[in-house]
Symmetry: C2
Subunit: 179 residues, 2 copies
């Protein structure tokens, strides 16, 4: 498994710390252009507008939170599009924390999402990619220029109730097909 932390000269211990960049970022003075947490929360303006947060991030693992307040629908629960976004963004987070962003990029191929209960609190999601599965994906992408992978995830409210489940299909692609 090639970790992006290594590709940009960071190891797991200082993965979150970043390097000087010159921009102010709330609770710490500087942000790193390649800071994965910042990229996931703000790299896509659509995601930034939801105020989604990365709570934990390490190779093969992410925990994220979608706040209720900016994402209310017309009946006071979380809008389905915000739940979809929370289910989808771990794809980018796991990619950035697990694969080599200098050689590969991820595509979302599809998702099936089922809405089980109204989401009336902030909602969290956790995704863990097994290291053996990550190695298989990396090896297949090295060999064929692309590799499909999928996972299922649960979106939970503040009481631990599952409000939605999703099946996500992604593809890791080489920036140089056949390389």
């Amino acid at each position: 498994m090639t970790c992006i932390a290594r590709t940009i000269g960071l190891n797991r211990e200082n993965f979150h710390r970043g390097l000087p960049y010159g921009a102010l970022n709330g609770d710490r003075k500087y942000i790193l252009p390649m800071d994965p947490k910042f990229m996931i929360e703000q790299g896509i303006p659509f995601a930034g507008r939801t105020e989604v947060k990365v709570l934990e991030l390490e190779p093969g693992y992410v925990k994220m939170m979608m706040p209720l307040q900016p994402n209310l629908n017309h009946v006071g629960t979380m809008y389905a599009g915000a739940l979809f976004t929370l289910a989808e963004l771990p794809g980018g987070a796991i990619f950035l924390s697990t694969f080599d962003a200098n050689r590969f990029y991820p595509l979302i191929k599809g998702m099936e999402i089922k809405f089980l209960k109204p989401a009336t609190t902030d909602i969290t999601v956790e995704v863990r990619l097994d290291p053996d599965e990550a190695a298989r994906i990396q090896e297949a992408a090295n060999e064929n220029g692309k590799a499909n992978y999928d996972w299922e995830c649960e979106l939970k409210d503040a009481n631990g109730q599952v409000v939605a489940v999703s099946s996500n299909r992604y593809q890791l692609r080489s920036m140089k097909p056949g390389a």
Copy 2:
């Protein structure tokens, strides 16, 4: 089929015109609290932030457009969450234009969405609900307090290419179960 245009004293001809409300709304002076176009575009702040537009709306039919620019992802195509939102919002639009919003409300039960091509232009979607199917849904909801329905839709780019397809599952529910 009970049409919301009738429930709020409008007919199909003046469905889009609205009545004085006192708020300014860009290209027309006044908006109506129940103006369906305004409700769909701005009723859910999450949707409003995407700058999605209702291009056409009448009982049983809607055409909507998601602009590319405010919804770009990190590689310059439309983010998957914006495509999901464009696929989902016709659920509310068809509800508002077709069913009685004083007696029923819609729920989204689930969606399967497949991303087929990168979306590199503004994207449109059209949904048409057959009057016989609308009547069946209305009758079932009258009888049982709820009725399931579903449809498939295609999201198309400016060249008519299908960039994503979705299967949407909704439920019409009575505000007074058993009524």
